[in-house]
């Protein structure tokens, strides 16, 4: 500590000369080292020591608080304690452990800044490339190895080796088959068929056209995909995985608008609406998000995933966003008892594009 400059390596004489010849302004060198107050004032040093120790003690206190909070705060269901609308246990554990770690960190940094050795160190950069001798030696070893293996002289061995290595990719590709069976025709059909009743999702209530007000939105499912207390005879009710698979394809939105507002494009058959009631697939044709963000005055449905917008008054034509096709429309009619039913399945596959789909 007698001479701080001892710690600063001297810039080699020839290097300094070279730099001086290149630079218009002479290198002033490093500024003189000034000591920190704690280096020269013993009282300041002791004060810093106490500060560091205080942080470490605070950390200990927080750790103890963590343990206390762990046992003291009740987390039993219905009996949780709260702090300002938040779960008391979570808040106490998180804050105490976080502060315990933080105080250790602050203490260490304060220690390093105030009390640990205060010396400047210079490390000069070296070129990253290996010395020429090493490089030549390595290249020589490599070419000697190639020479000794005879891979250049025996093309049969070389080619069969490449063949063997290349073929190693095949098991990987074949193994992909185990990801699952091919979808086949499953994506082309849904649970809807002629005479399937349109029912409310969750409640399972069948819907009469008179129940649907102008401006109404009904999130609907085919009857059989909503579990109900009293099952209707003649209807297949699915459960479990099958139910979820079918529900993912069959979800429906039913809306009603003033019949005069409907502006069907010419290729959409108009007899699929009943007094302004229209039924569309709920599955976005872009990547298959379920959509029911419906604006009743503009008749637009917006997909929250990528902002595809469909105009339900115009056969769900895409008016904005990345979707390529309109939402498939479900042909609906009314059965003998006056409930909304499907005339048939969707006339095209619902949801996003896939390889086997006839693109439109």
């Amino acid at each position: 500590m007698s001479d701080h400059h001892d710690n600063v390596p001297e810039v080699p004489e020839e290097q300094r000369k070279a730099m001086a010849s290149e630079e218009p302004i002479a290198n002033p060198g490093l500024p003189a080292h000034l000591p920190r107050p704690t280096d020269v004032d013993e009282r300041a040093a002791r004060r810093a020591e106490r500060q560091v120790a205080t942080f470490f003690v605070l950390s200990m206190v927080c750790t103890v608080l963590f343990v206390v909070a762990y046992f003291a705060l009740d987390i039993k269901d219905g009996n949780q304690e709260t702090i300002g609308g938040l779960g008391a246990s979570n808040v106490a554990l998180g804050v105490s452990l976080g502060l315990a770690l933080l105080f250790i960190g602050i203490g260490i940094i304060q220690w390093a800044r105030k009390l640990m050795a205060d010396v400047e160190i210079i490390e000069y950069r070296h070129p990253a490339v290996s010395p020429p001798a090493d490089r030549e030696e390595t290249l020589a070893a490599l070419s000697m190895g190639l020479d000794e293996s005879g891979i250049g002289r025996r093309p049969l061995i070389r080619n069969t080796l490449f063949g063997a290595l290349g073929l190693m990719g095949l098991p990987l590709i074949v193994g992909l088959r185990d990801l699952g069976p091919l979808p086949g025709k499953k994506l082309e059909s849904t649970f809807w068929k002629a005479g399937t009743r349109v029912v409310n999702d969750v409640t399972g209530l069948p819907i009469k056209p008179s129940d649907v007000a102008i401006g109404q939105l009904v999130n609907a499912q085919p009857e059989g995909l909503v579990p109900v207390a009293e099952e209707r005879p003649g209807v297949i009710y699915l459960e479990g995985v099958e139910l979820n698979v079918e529900k993912a394809k069959s979800s429906l939105i039913v809306v009603r608008m003033e019949p005069d507002d409907i502006t069907f494009s010419k290729d959409s058959p108009e007899n699929w609406q009943i007094d302004g009631i229209l039924a569309y697939s709920k599955i976005c044709t872009h990547v298959g998000c379920p959509i029911s963000l419906y604006e009743q005055q503009t008749h637009h449905v917006l997909c929250p995933c990528h902002q595809s917008t469909f105009d339900l008054a115009d056969g769900a034509a895409v008016i904005f966003g990345p979707a390529a096709r309109p939402l498939p429309q479900l042909p609906i009619t009314v059965d003998d008892e006056g409930y909304l039913v499907a005339q048939s399945d969707f006339t095209e596959p619902v949801g996003p594009s896939y390889w086997e789909r006839d693109s439109q």
Binding site: M1, S2, D3, H4, H5, D6, A32, H33, L34, P35, R36, P37, D39, V40, D41, Q80, T82, G85, L86, G87, N90, V91, G94, I109, R113, K114, N200, D201, V202, T203, L205, I207, K208, S210, D211, V212, A213, I214, G215, Q216, L217, V218, N219, V255, I291, S292, L293, Y294, E295, Q296, Q297, T298, H300, L302, P304, Q307, T309, F320
Partner: protein
């Protein structure tokens, strides 16, 4: 009506002077008013009921308020006004008292200025005035009536039934409402500057009325498809959600990954950057030399 009353008054006045006491005219006047009121009540739609004041008084008061505050956009008889630039104010025939109670009761109407959407603001009318306006608009044509507390609360159910209803309300909410109002009821954006408002802190009655009437871009969830019980279940779910403390920690408004990411970037990384500045900052230096017995020649340079 005023003409009729005046003529009755006049006739009564003349009769009283000749044959009866001075109060008879007043009595006849009152009888006439009660009679017209009763007849009016008998012929007004059933949805226009209101306790307290007589119906025709309420409707008359509502009409006066309507002419001052609403007729500019909705027309003098609530028929709506179309201008060359589109609709000024829609027709109010058949929207019912519930729509008025919702729109005026939440301060959305009267609108401060035309725009993509009428926002919530401090309501302009007292509840009595809103009731009068609702009675007047309901008298224009049958529509959904203002719901009663029986409709939008789960009163009368046992504890278990309430729990079942709240859970069903949650399912209904996730199916029908989250698309616009967000999984937590915090609201969300709609196209072209419109938005679905937050459902937090909205009164039960107003949530019920919104589902019933479909204000602005919101679709209608009519009673035949979503029964009053279903609506009450959804409201109970929302209120339970609102009252339940966030045991998992600070929800940051329940807005999803955007607000959480913003918090992580601004607050989390901001604090880290602050620490880095502190670690690397140049601390205090002293010009004093070591005043102990050690050599001090090095520091002079």
């Amino acid at each position: 009506m005023r003409l009729l009353n005046r003529s009755v008054n006049g006739v009564a006045g003349r009769l009283s002077r000749r044959r009866r006491g001075p109060l008879a005219g007043l009595m006849v006047l009152l009888l006439g008013l009660i009679l017209t009121g009763t007849v009016y009540a008998a012929f007004t739609p059933a949805t226009a009921q209101k306790a307290g004041k007589s119906d025709d008084q309420l409707i008359e008061q509502g009409r006066e308020l309507f002419l001052v505050g609403c007729a500019f956009c909705h027309g003098q008889n609530g028929e709506g006004i179309n201008s060359s630039k589109g609709q000024y104010g829609p027709s109010l025939v058949g929207v019912g008292g519930a729509a008025v109670d919702f729109q005026v009761g939440t301060g959305r109407m009267p609108m401060a200025q035309p725009g993509q959407q009428a926002g919530v603001k401090k309501e302009t009318y007292t509840q009595d005035e809103i009731d009068a306006l609702a009675a007047y608009v309901a008298s224009l044509g049958p529509g959904p009536a203002i719901p009663t507390p029986d409709d939008y609360t789960l009163e009368g159910l046992s504890e278990d039934e309430k729990r079942a209803a709240i859970s069903r309300g949650g399912q209904l909410f996730l199916t029908n409402c989250t698309a616009c109002h967000n999984f937590d009821g915090s609201g969300g954006a709609l196209p072209r500057g419109r938005y679905a408002p937050s459902l937090k802190g909205v009164s039960e009655k107003h949530i019920y009325e919104a589902m019933l009437t479909g204000p602005q871009q919101m679709p209608v969830f009519g009673d035949s498809v979503m029964t009053p019980d279903d609506k009450a279940a959804i409201i109970a779910y929302l209120k339970t959600n609102e009252e339940t403390p966030e045991y998992g920690g600070f929800g940051m408004g329940g807005l999803g990954p955007v607000s959480e990411g913003l918090f992580a970037w601004l607050v989390g990384i901001g604090v880290l950057v602050g620490f880095c500045y502190w670690i690397a900052s140049h601390g205090a230096r002293s010009n004093k030399t070591l005043s102990t017995t050690e050599s001090t020649e090095g520091t002079e340079a």
